[in-house]
């Protein structure tokens, strides 16, 4: 059961997204999808968002710009309980928007169902590149393959020295730092590298606070950690990002906006999501908020240091949004 949680989670989202894609392609033909306009000054209400600390800044930046654009009577709050903790609240019906750095799990969908939260919508709002970093004194490891990363991070791994990672690497102890098990980043990395969500060696120093991981790697010549791209971006001058060998093309790829956008940074690039509760989505100020989010996607991403959606992703998300909107208005 636990083994396939991650994959099933993907299915839950895929179903929602897939259904809307079918509708999207239908609607694209009719070209009737019109951009609705909202008088932001007249809107009022509250929007409660919670969830991933990775996605949180994105929602926060949206809220700030939304307020400045005139929607000062819409009170938006953003919490950062983590993707898992946020879903627990979302599925009690306590929040309107859930920030998620991984898709909803089947067990969480069940929880929503048990609590009669009703339907929900999901959209991809930004991208992230999970970045593997090492100490700046590390001159040997420039590029690692997925197999090598797996060798280091897989459950039961006993690799504790760089010389065991690849023949030719020096004799330097390997010190590992990673996010805690409540984090969506942990779920995603373990799934992408070890092949199974949440399957990881456990003898690394874990912290939910990414700054602790940064400090850890700064202090250890043989240190290694992984976290979201924005933390690397902010600490670029002090840490070195490892290139990851794309399993298909066999090329070494540096994490960054470009390599995420041309889809070469695989398998560690990931989409970031927001989930919106169905009953909340019926409210005009919530619709206006999401609409504003997609209208200003690039600006928000830049403000909060995110990798924006590609044009294709954005178009897809907007089409889905407008379809859902039309649907919400009908019912």
């Amino acid at each position: 059961m636990k083994l396939s949680l991650g994959r099933r989670g993907v299915i839950v989202v895929a179903l929602g997204v897939g259904a809307s894609l079918v509708l999207a392609s239908l609607a694209a033909g009719s070209a009737s999808v019109r951009n609705p306009t909202y008088n932001l000054k007249k809107l009022s209400g509250t929007i409660t968002a919670d969830g991933s600390s990775t996605v949180g800044p994105y929602t926060t930046a949206t809220a700030e710009l939304f307020r400045r654009a005139g929607a000062s009577k819409v009170k938006v709050t953003v919490g950062i309980s983590g993707t898992g903790g946020g879903f627990q609240r979302f599925c009690k019906g306590e929040t309107d928007i859930q920030d998620a750095s991984r898709p909803m799990r089947l067990s969480e969908a069940q929880l929503c169902k048990d609590n009669r939260v009703g339907s929900w919508r999901a959209w991809t709002v930004a991208n992230d590149a999970l970045t593997v970093v090492v100490n700046s004194q590390n001159t040997w490891a420039r590029c690692l393959s997925v197999a090598e990363l797996k060798k280091i991070w897989e459950p039961g791994s006993t690799v504790n020295n760089w010389k065991d990672v690849r023949p030719g690497f020096p004799d330097v102890p390997l010190k590992l730092f990673g996010p805690g098990t409540d984090s969506g980043t942990f779920d995603y990395f373990t799934e992408a590298i070890n092949g199974r969500s949440r399957a990881s060696r456990t003898d690394f120093q874990a912290s939910e606070d990414d700054n602790v991981l940064v400090q850890g790697v700064l202090g250890e010549r043989g240190g290694m950690a992984y976290f979201g791209y924005s933390y690397y971006e902010e600490n670029k001058s002090r840490l070195t990002a490892i290139q990851v060998r794309n399993p298909k093309t066999n090329q070494c790829v540096t994490p960054g906006i470009k390599s995420v956008h041309n889809e070469t940074y695989r398998p560690l690039s990931r989409p970031l999501f927001i989930y919106v509760k169905g009953t909340s989505f019926k409210k005009r100020h919530v619709q206006a908020f999401i609409d504003f989010m997609f209208d200003n996607e690039v600006r928000i991403a830049k403000r909060a240091d995110f990798i924006p959606l590609t044009k294709k992703q954005l178009k897809r998300a907007r089409t889905s949004f407008h379809l859902q909107l039309a649907q919400a208005k009908r019912t």
């Binding site: 949180g56 926060t60 809220a63 953003v78 950062i80 606070d209 902010e234 240091d305």
Partner: protein
């Protein structure tokens, strides 16, 4: 003279022991005091550049140059005020009952006493969980300022009770007996004699308890002092508190947020220290000697 001949100079090992003890004491004091000084100096040096009007006037932001802590500062003051309003009457009345009315030979009174002592030692996060289950979700008032104030009241109530009891107990019995001798009822004794005499002690204890409440983070995170709140707190509205704001800023990747966190920490320190100063002032100003 003969007796002086017996008086030897201190033995070598005694001198040595004396010095060791002296060094140990100085070292202990240095650890306690030095840590505090280092912490204060470090915080002030780090936070000084960000300590400007913007910190008080602006809401938080994803861009450090635009970020302030207005909603958090206001909510912390608001919470402090509410906690004082709730905890002092309940705490003082409990203390009066236990000291003046309760019959200690009854088992339930002894049980109450022991439990209040124990409650004072319960970690605050436990109150947070309790509050989440019974106040936020149980009563269903949600993650609002009032819920936060109720939980913080629970956190500090045992301290207020214990401090008030100490203050009431230190009023000499002769005063009570004198009042009784003049025909006062128990209520008159308490209200006109014991309580006025005990007020400095009660005030000191309450303010010290309050400054603890203001610095609490853990229970507030449990009951939803949310990270990003751009508007001023209302009694039944969402909020964030200063310690929570500081905690969240320290977790940001952008290093400028660390500066902001330090500046907000200075604001919190000033709030707490001025409360303590008021407590010390009250104690010195109104202390009575019998």
């Amino acid at each position: 003279m003969t007796s002086l001949a017996h008086a030897q100079p201190p033995r070598r090992d005694r001198v040595w022991k004396n010095r060791v003890f002296m060094v140990a004491m100085l070292f202990s004091m240095f650890v306690a005091f030095g840590t505090l000084v280092v912490l204060l100096v470090d915080t002030i040096l780090t936070g000084w550049p960000a300590l400007d009007w913007k910190l008080f006037s602006e809401p938080p932001s994803t861009v450090p140059a635009e970020a302030g802590a207005r909603p958090a500062i206001l909510a912390t003051l608001y919470l402090g005020f509410l906690v004082l309003l709730l905890s002092v009457p309940i705490g003082v009345l409990t203390a009066i009952y236990l000291e003046e009315y309760a019959n200690r030979s009854r088992w339930w009174n002894r049980m109450i006493e022991v439990n209040i002592q124990n409650l004072a030692a319960v970690p605050s996060i436990v109150y947070g969980i309790l509050g989440l289950a019974f106040i936020v979700r149980g009563i269903g008032i949600g993650r609002v300022v009032f819920a936060g104030a109720l939980i913080l009241t629970l956190v500090v109530l045992p301290t207020v009770v214990v401090a008030s009891r100490e203050a009431i107990r230190s009023v000499p019995d002769s005063i009570r007996q004198g009042a009784f001798a003049l025909g006062a009822t128990r209520w008159q004794v308490v209200w006109r004699q014991v309580l006025p005499a005990a007020i400095p002690g009660i005030a000191t204890g309450s303010i010290l308890a309050l400054s603890r409440a203001v610095g609490e983070t853990a229970p507030l995170i449990m009951v939803g002092a949310i990270t990003y709140v751009a508007f001023n707190p209302e009694l039944f509205g969402p909020y964030t508190a200063l310690p929570v704001q500081i905690f969240n800023w320290t977790k940001q990747p952008n290093l400028e947020f660390q500066t902001l966190a330090a500046a907000a920490a200075i604001v919190l320190l000033v709030i707490v220290l001025s409360m303590n100063a008021v407590a010390i002032f009250l104690r010195n100003r109104y202390r009575k000697k019998w």
